[in-house]
């Protein structure tokens, strides 16, 4: 049995060692980055644009994607790109001009996709998931026809969408991610983290946006 003073000293030592605030691995770093993002954006004084901007930058910094964008549903029911990073100026101009209706989000003939969870869709380059003219929204449109040499390659034209919803389950926006830094498909863990971020973004924005 430990005496009172020695018990306190021993406890403090074990608490310091076990719970040292220095992150020990990539997962802890991500957890810290998300907590810090939430602390910054969970403020009604912040504009929607600055919330989207900070979220996009955090994802771009913390995950393996070079391209990140976020779309929101406007009051007219049309989804539009609000922020984007990792694209050329020409691509960005094309992105900002794209208007998507609710029907477009479900249109498998124009935008074929694979649902990898109830909030995430993967769009494969081979299926040409874009309308004529939207090729210019990609940074390297000439590479859109490149052959996938290995199934775990992430090609120009592959992209992933993470949907977020309001309280009535209506999609109010989505995060789009593409162009992994190592040229490979993202890990399952990355998808799960981004699904959490998307859902949180929905919780923060749902009362700011019309349903």
């Amino acid at each position: 049995m430990l005496g009172k003073l020695s018990a306190i000293t021993a406890m403090e030592k074990i608490l310091r060692e076990r719970y040292s605030p220095v992150s020990r691995d990539e997962e802890e770093n991500l957890s810290d980055a998300i907590e810090s993002l939430l602390a910054r954006i969970n403020d009604r004084r912040k504009t929607t644009q600055s919330i989207l901007d900070e979220t996009m930058r955090m994802i771009h910094r913390s995950f393996d994607f070079q391209y990140i964008s976020i779309l929101l549903r406007d009051n007219d029911g049309i989804y539009r790109y609000k922020v984007a990073t990792g694209v050329s100026d020409i691509s960005k101009k094309t992105l900002l001009s794209i208007c998507l209706s609710e029907a477009d989000l479900l249109d498998q003939s124009t935008y074929p996709s694979t649902s990898i969870s109830n909030i995430t869709k993967f769009f494969m380059s081979e299926n040409e998931p874009y309308r004529p003219g939207e090729e210019m929204a990609f940074s390297r449109p000439k590479m859109l026809s490149r052959i996938r040499e290995s199934p775990d390659d992430m090609l120009e034209g592959d992209f992933i969408e993470f949907f977020f919803r309001n309280r009535s389950n209506k999609i109010i926006g989505f995060i789009e991610a593409a162009d992994s830094r190592n040229g490979k498909l993202p890990k399952r863990g990355t998808i799960i983290w981004l699904e959490l971020i998307a859902t949180l973004l929905g919780a923060i924005l749902c009362d700011r946006l019309e349903g």
Binding site: M11, Y19, E126, D152, N169
Partner: protein
Amino acid sequence: MAKKTKDYNQERFLLALYSQANRTPREESINEIRKFVEKCMKLDAQRKTVLDEAIRTILRMTEFKEIAISAKDIDGNFRFLAMSGFKKEAEAAMRAIVYTPADLMDHITFPAHRIGMVSEYCISEMNPYKPGEEATYNEPQLIGKPRSAPDDMMEGDYIDIYMDGPDKRHIGWIELSQTKTGKLPSRETIVWLELFVSCLSIILLNLPAGASA
């Protein structure tokens, strides 16, 4: 325009790669937080309902047996609004306590050891409670019992994890005590709880107008 056809081999590869069946415990624990947020958005959006759901999630995902959540009331003081794992008498004693914002900064009355960005560990031997608050423990007669090993989690030990609002002002905290093994919780548990608590803050601060306690 020709109909676009899917590459089904690649689709099968994707579905296998991202299959929900092969998730690691860590991936599953992150997904549990997402499911919690999603569920809270669909609840009747009352604060008490959200706090009760938070307690159920923590009980399911961690080794803690006693959980209480204190939140800021309209008078600016803090009260325990949701609890689990306490005897009737202890729960009644907890419900009667009112903490002022000054109490939250009072590290003389409530000495604590920081174990995370927003987490503190209160060691039983340092008597981290006001006189009279012994009644809030399930087994107050065990307070002061010598610790047999430094990694024991004893009656009287507890962990507070704070929920913050804008400008880092506390909007409440989760108090945890008594693990199933009687030992200190793992580092992973505290890391998970801090993320969970910061998501809970998001829910509480974004309850629809008119939501009540």
